[in-house]
Symmetry: C2
Subunit: 299 residues, 2 copies
């Protein structure tokens, strides 16, 4: 089954203790697609500027990503610049130039409207809601958000989550949105807005899944070569949603496996800059890493 992602495509300039890269292909929709495409068809809705190079389009297209929903607008593409210090647990944003992304208004092409799996990456919650008005009864809608929207549009975020099936947030966002310091209490609170599943990403410490009766947790895979954490959260979402779309079901065991796939794809992402870590994996690479993860937690 296909998965639709609505999010950003950006050029990222990133410096970490392991190096610096300028104007790498990035953005939430890019990172998501680079992970999800191993498991299912990906339909992308985003906007780029007239400066966006054909190599960028070719990169995505060659990976099987459907670009019918990509808007090309007069002007410059979204650019983001950040530096990570020390243990790289937090990005210090140096510059955000939204450019054409500032007026992004997602339009879902007719051919995408029946998408059974929908991922609303971090954009204005009112625009995320706008997407949901355009699609027809998806099997599962998952939404991300960020501190900025929680601070400025908390009610919109809550309303959006009420009409989504799953919230995929990091620990700081879950705490900020719910006002609860304890993650199980935060998840309970967020579920009370109306969303069935809450997935909390904890970076190097793994991920948690809360549904009604079920709690599932995976530790992070211990890695000795983390180089750039940019996009790890969207890569997680790509693995998570991609696997659910591939399994064509949202049972408890499918959700657990989806978290494993999310963590697995995120582990590739952080080992290299930008999408270098996920761009060109073989099925064997992924299977080996999945097996490594299963062994890590085997009791």
């Amino acid at each position: 089954m296909s998965v639709l992602v609505v999010g950003s495509i950006a050029f990222d300039t990133v410096e970490t203790p392991h190096g610096r890269r300028e104007e790498m292909l990035g953005g939430s929709a890019t990172h998501f697609s680079c992970a999800a495409r191993y498991f299912t068809d990906v339909r992308l809705v985003a906007v780029v500027g007239s400066d966006f190079p054909s190599e960028g389009l070719e990169f995505l297209r060659s990976r099987g990503v459907d670009l019918d929903g990509l808007q090309v607008r007069e002007g410059k593409s979204f650019r983001w610049e950040a530096v990570y210090h020390g243990d790289m647990s937090q990005a210090e944003t140096l510059a955000t130039h939204l450019n054409v992304f500032r007026d992004f208004s997602p339009v879902i092409p007719e051919s995408y409207k029946d998408s059974p799996f929908v991922f609303l990456a971090n954009i204005d919650p009112d625009l995320q809601a706008e997407v949901l008005r355009q699609v027809k009864k998806p099997v599962l809608v998952a939404a991300d958000t960020m501190n900025h929207w929680i601070a400025d549009k908390k009610e919109s975020v809550r309303k959006l989550l009420a009409s989504a099936d799953a919230a995929i947030l990091n620990d700081a966002e879950a705490r900020m949105l719910s006002g609860e310091a304890s993650l199980p209490l935060a998840a309970e609170r967020i579920r009370s807005y109306g969303t069935k599943y809450v997935v909390i990403k904890k970076g190097e410490h793994g991920a948690l899944l809360f549904s009604g009766q079920t709690r599932f947790a995976l530790p992070g895979l211990p890695l000795s070569d983390v180089r750039d954490p940019t996009g790890a959260g969207d890569t997680f979402a790509g693995g998570f949603m991609g696997r659910l779309a591939q399994l064509e079901t949202v049972t408890e065991s499918a959700l657990r496996e989806a978290v494993l796939y999310g963590c697995t794809m995120a582990s590739f992402n952080v080992q290299a800059f930008g999408v270098e870590g996920t761009a060109s994996l073989t099925r064997q690479d992924i299977d080996r890493r999945l097996e490594e993860f299963r062994n890590l937690v085997r009791l």
Copy 2:
């Protein structure tokens, strides 16, 4: 098989966002014993002052802890005072009065010398080594340490670990001792000193086990009612060593299960002040929590 613990018995005064307790029974040997005693016989070596109340001895004795190795010295017992803020991830020590613990010189009674499992809780690494000279070929020796000894006696700590089988450290200690920020690299470095197994405790984020070929990780059990983390590390060690002693073996699968038991006992510990959380559990309480943990990570 019996487990021998050499460590401290203290009176702890602790304040957390959930309350304050004065002069609770605490110390590494106490927390360790309160967890390990559910799984095996515990032999304790520690020192208390002449002010130590008979209720304290009775508390431990009634839990089956062998006190033949407990020294009672003229003077006051060890006292520690600390406050935890916010998410309680770090204790701020307000006062440390070593009192009789300052001149603690562990003497292993004849009846303890054949102890097959030995846990060297955090004391001067030269004293930990002294203990190892007194015991006869244990099956497994595990050692803890702390930042203070790593800063002041790093060579002694390394030498001690070379003659122990397992290091049980928290993430900050592992990083400080090894000089490596990445935990898998830190574990590799610590194993290079000569210790076979490295267990890294990550508080609310669970625990990691590294041996030659094997890496094992458990996430933390999501808890909504953490009240006092004091002693969680020693409680983990009690569950870990207690389970190994009960299984009478140190195979890979036993080690994995021991980490599960350690995390499980630590989860009880943090839900209440001092040893309130572990003092009076039933076998059913423990079995239920173990099952909850297994379900949490089941793929």
